[in-house]
Symmetry: C2
Subunit: 337 residues, 2 copies
DNA sequence: CCTGGCACTCCATGGTCCTCAGTGCTAATT
DNA sequence: AATTAGCACTGAGGACCATGGAGTGCCAGG
């Protein structure tokens, strides 16, 4: 069906269209690419490609434009991930070094990725569920309040204030703290609920109320918001693009945290680059955008995802290269922390 | 120079232009507003207003449009802050209740403000400099590392990992912790540097190195990033507006944290609403936007600011009402926390 | 000081024409 | 059978022009 040359034509159409943002015609192709055949032949191939739904014409007397299906084939079979230039690698290193805490690592990463790709970058905080407890701290704040701080091995810190405990006994808090740490330090967060289940029964009855309150807040903080935190940068890059859907719809979609989470969340194969093109995205407003995403993590363990959102008409090889490189670097940095 | 009626005309021009986004003519004014005079009279007044620079014509045979100076006069003398509707007040309460920590309070506030004003909202985290230390916690993490957590009375938490201390002695950390808390708990952050100055000399020489490292990180964390944290929402609302400057420039400006800080920072009179119109903003890309900002805080103490960015052609009374109301609510919530 | 009347200005709208890039088809060539 | 040259055809977009109408400035009369 699709011989070598037709594929080469498709590749050329995609590349030219990405560069110029204008429908590309047979003559332009023959000039700019060394396909070794005449425009007429290219036209015939284009008819075949159009019949198979890989390209389409905006109107009768215009050049061809790739369809979502065309981009899909391009990404799957006609292109390879483009490695970063040395200059870009240096930019990554100098950009990410010197971050003092997790917040800053994430903030810098997302700006870096936006800058490298000239598109919108998304970075998800390391998931709580897949990391483990390094330490739990309980701090009596005076009055009836206690602050709980959970520190994970990925540098993430969750804190909560627990109120309305009745009179708080400092010694009881100290006991509870060491008991808690003995029980769950080093555990995966997923295993915490089981591990704390029968702790209350080990607490003297007069302090049991406090222990129960603290544990319930602890469990809640682990379960509830585990993957909510997501950061965005580079929305200004969207202004340059003209979308089929209105820009407003795209911006609105990107402000919904739940949408972002789902965008990153549906990777098929972890540890691989995922590309979702146009209508492959579930969201109405994102019909004319593509998402390139990847997992990052320490060792084999995937902690969370990063991604880039841009027009379907994007430089896939370059974007994929940038996403992959940044994902690796951030993994290294977290490992070294 | 400017009699009552001319001011009424200016007010009408501003209101109509904000509503319709089209230059407003003398006839339309006479119809829609009860000025009690004929279009011809209004035309004469408009000439005067134009000579004084309050309004301008896009071209000869078009209606008039307010200038920055016109908006300024409108805001200063011709309008009053519009109180929120009961429905809006209810929205605020239901929106802000149920926030579990400072992060969530801020996140909800910024979305709320964007929704109320249908513009871009900015919320600054409560400043560290103007709050006081509630508690400092030091947690040995094992190895050569210690985590420091500073909790302020505004619910804000800063944490840092301090590394490369040599062997960490747990007892020494405990001593240091209680010494630190005795020295600075309750103090304004601005007073902390003085208060810790001679602490190292009170530490036994063999642990002095650790104490110095911890203190230097503490001071750094207080000084360096005190007002950096700022959150944005509602950028999608910009897409609906057509700016003189390109949308891209506006979005770019809003991605620069330093720009946002300056935008909010230059309030003349704290505890008052500040409005900066068009070219009154220092930033190139924000020449055709206005910023409405206000302080929020607990009691008399101003902790930080919130604001709204929109086109100069905005509904000033409504926006000012929303900003003021939200600023008050967030103050109450922080006070109650 | 206000107002009706009037000539004038200029933008926006819509129609027409023309150009031109690009197409599909056919017949000739390899 | 595949490729190519030639050619008629198509439709978007730009230039040009005419027209309608909103809005103006000005003047003379109330």
């Amino acid at each position: 069906m699709l011989d070598e040359r037709k594929l080469a034509v498709l590749r050329a159409v995609v590349e030219d269209f990405v560069n110029t943002n204008e429908p590309v015609g047979s003559k332009a192709l023959a000039d700019r690419h060394r396909l070794g055949v005449s425009p007429a032949t290219i036209r015939n191939d284009m008819v075949a490609l159009e019949e198979d739904g890989y390209i389409t014409q905006p109107h009768t007397s215009a050049g061809r434009v790739p369809t979502d299906k065309g981009y899909r084939l391009f990404v799957d079979r006609l292109s390879s991930v483009k490695p970063l230039s040395p200059a870009e690698r240096r930019a990554i290193e100098s950009f990410l070094n010197g971050a003092v805490d997790l917040d800053e690592i994430v903030a810098r990463t997302v700006r870096l990725l936006a800058q490298l790709t000239r598109q919108v970058a998304i970075v998800q905080y390391p998931s709580l569920t897949r990391s483990s407890v390094q330490h739990v701290e309980l701090v009596p704040l005076g009055g009836q309040r206690v602050m709980m701080v959970v520190i994970t091995n990925t540098g993430r810190v969750e804190q909560r204030v627990i109120d309305g405990l009745g009179e708080v006994n400092e010694a009881a808090v100290n006991d509870l703290r060491s008991m808690l740490n003995r029980a769950i330090a080093g555990l995966h967060l997923g295993d915490v609920p089981d591990a704390v289940e029968d702790l209350p029964s080990q607490v003297p009855p007069e302090h049991r109320q406090v222990a129960v309150s603290v544990l319930s807040v602890l469990l809640e903080s682990l379960v509830e918001r585990h993957e909510e935190k997501i950061v965005l940068a580079g929305t200004a890059n969207l202004a340059a693009v003209d979308f089929a859907a209105s820009l407003r719809d795209v911006l609105e979609a990107l402000e919904e945290n739940m949408v972002l989470i789902r965008l990153l969340g549906e990777a098929k194969d972890p540890s691989m680059l995922t590309v979702r093109i146009g209508a492959e995205n579930f969201h109405e407003g994102l019909r004319s955008t593509s998402v390139v995403s990847a997992d990052y993590g320490v060792g084999n363990q995937s902690l969370a995802k990063i991604g880039v959102v841009g027009p379907t008409r994007m430089d896939y090889p370059g974007t994929m290269g940038a996403v992959r490189a940044v994902a690796r670097y951030i993994g290294q940095i977290l490992a070294g922390q």
